[in-house]
Subunit: 136 residues, 6 copies
């Protein structure tokens, strides 16, 4: 079993708020992440898949195919978008780093199986200092 990781990027706006809470409680819990006029990040997503290398290619997956899949299902939908308002699979989801990683996993894992390997991990960096990992 070998693991291959492809790194991609998207730049997006978001805010963190619980609509069932008061403005004061949102600010207390989420701090400056609750700014009503949004803020944003350069997100980095690392998609790790696992499998056995194919004897004909040496690949567990053709990275051209994996990269195209990530573009179609993830970065075309999330890049230069608002994660709270613009992304179909994020609607109604609080866009914490944790939840964005989980949602990206859900968008990719079946299609990656169809490429002949298995999704192992989604790692999402929101900043240089904060990141989340989800293994399904």
């Amino acid at each position: 079993m070998v693991y291959i990781t492809r790194k991609e990027h998207f730049n997006a706006a978001h805010k963190l708020e619980n609509p069932e809470w008061s403005k004061e409680k949102n600010e207390e819990v989420f701090g400056k992440c609750a700014n009503p006029n949004w803020h944003g990040h350069n997100y980095t997503v690392l998609v790790t898949v696992k499998g056995e290398p194919d004897p004909g290619t040496g690949f567990i997956v053709n990275l051209k195919h994996l990269s195209e899949l990530i573009r179609k299902k993830i970065t075309d939908k999330m890049d230069h978008k608002n994660l709270n308002l613009d992304v179909d699979f994020m609607l109604g989801v609080k866009p914490s780093t944790e939840n964005v990683a989980i949602k990206i996993w859900e968008q990719l894992h079946e299609d990656i199986s169809n490429l002949g390997c298995q999704l192992h991990c989604i790692k999402l960096l929101e900043t240089e200092n904060n990141s989340a990992e989800y293994y399904g």
Copy 2:
């Protein structure tokens, strides 16, 4: 003459649009940067000052003072904010990388003179691949 650079960060939302243009022309010129619901970035700002080292300290400026100044005048106002809506010195300014660099210069250069050195350059990275430099 020696040059000292301090790196700081802020995460912000913005969009690029010319209010005098049609939606179509804005999209043609600014592409996905014109998304009406905003997008965002992890901005990195490098503030370079120049001067002669003080014999008593070896410093051209005490970086604690420079860092506090950048926090007060720049990152406290821009971090987790919307550059089009929330930042007093950006109101009415198109928040291109170029213009944000110029506006940061204008906010800092007098106060840096009061620290006993001179502002030399503002370098602003919007992404890993795109940056602007302004020398006044």
Copy 3:
């Protein structure tokens, strides 16, 4: 289960020596790391915790709380200090990358449980090229 990682930094002096050995044996084993007048590093510590996202916040832990805990228990005690002389929980410990990672784990794991998640890994980078990981 989701994993969240927070990256922090501290700059410290240290040296490697076994007080039961001769100067010659210390130099043979530890090389330039045995320099009697110390040397130092910019250390980077990555604290990874695991848990289930809270439905109200989307967080497995509020990173503001985790970051404050790391500051109080680790970086306030280690930053701009001598790891052999100044840090209470390092006294009598050989400050190899391995041992520093273990000691940081011991300082944090109970308090992290009190934040409602579990410490998963301490990764400590001593240089760009050398790092240690400890999982308890």
Copy 4:
């Protein structure tokens, strides 16, 4: 159990092709990686070993010894070389990132056992965006 990682580098040429396939099929599958006149990369290899810290040193392995071993068995043979033509242990192997990681593992794991620890993982970065991991 603690894990220690040493990062090393080598710069090499290679191409991807299956000699049993037509030129057209090679181009279809491998794209620009099949360029007959070669291309190349700055490879980064991360060697992770695991073990218990020695009480006398605080080390699971002396990194000077591990680094010398990687130099002798890997980077002296691969740096500024052609992976298809010049490297004894790569002859007849398709030099995909996956296969290069596997072959580096095979070259190192016995010698690392002789250093008193165990090889845990070879991570190989071919570019900033593409990497492979192999755990034996």
Copy 5:
């Protein structure tokens, strides 16, 4: 005057040799860079242009146009190629970091003038540790 920098990448093979010299002299001068079977690098190129921001856009140049130009004139010709054999504007040129930077400048500076700004600097990184800058 503001400066804007766009970073792009290409991965290529090359070797350093002077065809008028003996094999021995080539090895003496160029060391392992003279390996007859080539080696390669992940090159990073930073293209810095200067100009006045346009009041309608805030841009000194639309980075979409600059990026397309760099792709057409530089990276489409150099990526996954052999710098000694495959690149029209490098034929007969010793592909040192210095010379590659000069040749990239020559390919770009007229077309960049046609975009309404001026080429200021080509910075080429051959490795993390070695880079060249050319200002025309």
Copy 6:
């Protein structure tokens, strides 16, 4: 004229203090950098030289020679050392980032002229966020 930059590293201990000042004034001015038991950094030094490429090599300087010079005059003397106590050319100098950059310039500029090019800039990074540049 082309500029070439070589990056090297050294890890060292230091402290900032003015021996003519009280302990209180030293702490007020230098803060935690005045810790009596030292602290340390992973320093990065970027040596930029300028010249005309030699037609026979394409080089303004053979980087093997430049790198050996930096090792002999700088990193062999500073790596795993105490900048206040162990380095001949730093004795009596306050080891601020500014002053260390100036002293490295003084150590190198004549020998670099003997390599057939000119020293242009010493850039010294003390941390990821703080750096100094000196141009003679």
